[in-house]
């Protein structure tokens, strides 16, 4: 009698189901009564991006102005202005090796001298109105200079309120003490 066995099995499954929901009924709730209670799981919150400061200097971002984030951003919401800090000869930079017979060193077609060009951020503009929070900029940054902020209570009444200058934010944060975004 496979039909009867199936029926008994089916009926038993109904009781099992009732048991599951019955147990869940008495277990504690998972909902946070939000305005009355604070949420504490902000470690994984992905807010807008923020600059991360250097370990030795809380006022300077780690950013090396490679502009990979600008290239990676699909919404085009990042704009970086930089200034040249200096050109210094570098011992560890490898010389470009070109065929020595073709190009004479010192001629106008010769490769540039071995040197390191250092730039620093003059302003790092984020237009948060356009951002889709994909996080590609954070992923591509080679020096981990970008991180998601944990600013949950972000509100504003105009578009201009969401156009951030991140360098300024970094300095303000450093002045306020403590480095929240990391």
């Amino acid at each position: 009698m496979p039909g009867l066995a199936n029926t008994v099995k089916g009926l038993w499954s109904l009781i099992v189901g009732l048991g599951v929901t019955g147990v869940e009924f008495f277990r504690p709730q998972l909902t946070v009564h939000y305005p009355r209670k604070e949420v504490d799981n902000l470690a994984t919150y992905r807010g807008h991006i923020d600059l991360v400061a250097r370990d030795d200097d809380p006022l300077t971002p780690r950013c090396i102005v490679c502009r990979k984030c600008v290239a990676a951003c699909p919404s085009g919401c990042i704009a970086i202005e930089s200034r040249l800090v200096g050109v210094e000869p570098s011992g560890d930079a490898r010389e470009l090796s070109l065929a020595p017979g073709l190009i004479v060193t010192g001629s106008h077609a010769a490769p540039p001298p071995r040197q390191k060009i250092r730039r620093e951020v003059a302003s790092f503009n984020l237009n948060y109105n356009l951002c889709s929070l994909c996080g590609l900029c954070v992923q591509t940054c080679p020096v981990d200079s970008l991180a998601f902020s944990r600013e949950v209570y972000l509100c504003g009444s105009s578009r201009a309120d969401f156009e951030f200058e991140l360098l300024e934010r970094l300095r303000r944060r450093a002045a306020a003490g403590g480095q929240r975004a990391a």
């Binding site: 029926t7 109904l14 189901g17 009732l18 599951v20 929901t21 019955g22 869940e24 009924f25 008495f26 277990r27 504690p28 709730q29 998972l30 909902t31 009564h33």
Partner: protein, 327 residues
């Protein structure tokens, strides 16, 4: 005519009973909607309505105000008469269904000796209301919902009657008060112990008759938008909603009176026990709703025609046989 005579007059009693029933129906509708939402909340481990009043107790009242304030729209091409007859017809007979329910020997609005028949007859009117609403809406979802409601109701009325008949055979009466009196000698005198199969059949059929999940095919949201009440706005929908919850009380009251000893119980006065048992059954209905997924239509009818009706018939025959042998 003295005051006592006026109060004891059947007509006064009937009018008083009707007024009390209307109050009971309204208040119960509010409480049950709140209770249902709380139950589903707890089962899904969230608080349910919480903001309006302490623990959201006033939520359904506020929802009711919202429904009353909404505009009543009649869709183009609808049968205006049938469309508005539907919701009214679904609520009105409910009030009559409460008349013979024995909350206690004294607290029975109208003690008729055919009370059970009265309830069964008038609760079937609901199907007609759903049918009128579905047909009058001029909407394919509503029409399919109505067709489902009718075939489901026709099918499940049979096992319902078969299980009720077992009790009627056994007690030799169709009066709910008499049936309740018969089981007032403690827990062991309840009909549940004599007719467990009839109780199970009755409860399953009652779930189907009240269109409750897992048998809520007439209003299956995922397939039919809202089934027969797709086109109703405001209190048109509100009345169907009220009727659904009131029918839940009716079937659970009948189940209590037939199987669970009605107002029988220790310590507390009778009516409290009655209401307590009714609410326990309703809680079980809600528990079913948020546990079991909706059945398919063929499964629904298979369950009825292949299982409940044969089992009900066997149970009825066995009851008749045993009664004959005992005599």
């Amino acid at each position: 005519m003295t005051l006592t005579e006026i109060i004891n007059h059947p007509l006064t009693r009937l009018v008083l009973g009707l007024v009390l029933i209307l109050v009971f129906v309204g208040v119960n509708g509010l409480i049950l909607v709140w209770m249902e939402r709380k139950v589903v909340g707890f089962i899904q481990r969230r608080p349910g309505p919480y903001e309006v009043g302490p623990h959201g107790i006033l939520q359904s009242l506020v929802d009711g105000v919202k429904l009353i304030a909404k505009q009543l729209v009649t869709p183009r091409g609808a049968d205006r008469f049938l469309f508005w007859l539907g919701p009214m017809l679904s609520v009105t007979p409910v009030v009559i269904c409460f008349l013979p329910i024995p909350f206690s020997p004294a607290l029975t609005a109208m003690d008729v000796n055919l009370g059970l028949l009265l309830i069964l007859a008038f609760s079937s009117v609901n199907v007609l209301a759903l049918c009128a609403a579905g047909w009058g809406s001029n909407n394919k979802y509503a029409l399919i919902g109505a067709a489902r409601a009718v075939s489901q109701s026709v099918a499940y009325e049979i096992p319902l009657l078969l299980s009720v008949l077992c009790i009627a055979f056994q007690t030799g009466s169709l009066s709910l008060s008499a049936i309740a009196q018969g089981q007032s000698q403690g827990v062991l005198s309840w009909n549940l112990w004599v007719q467990p199969l009839a109780f199970v059949i009755f409860f399953i059929s009652a779930t189907a008759e009240t269109n409750r999940a897992p048998f809520d095919l007439p209003e299956a949201e995922s397939e039919l938008t809202a089934g027969f009440h797709t086109e109703y706005s405001g209190m048109g929908f509100g009345l169907f909603f009220l009727a659904e919850y009131t029918y839940m009380i009716v079937v659970c009251s009948v189940a209590t009176a037939l199987f669970l000893g009605a107002h029988d119980g220790p310590f507390l006065p009778g009516p409290w026990w009655f209401v307590l048992k009714v609410y326990a059954l309703i809680l079980a209905l809600m528990w079913f709703r948020w546990t079991f997924p909706r059945v398919r239509f063929d499964q629904l009818l298979n369950l009825c025609w292949k299982w409940l009706i044969p089992l009900g018939l066997v149970n009825l025959l066995a009851t008749a046989l045993v009664l004959k042998l005992v005599e």
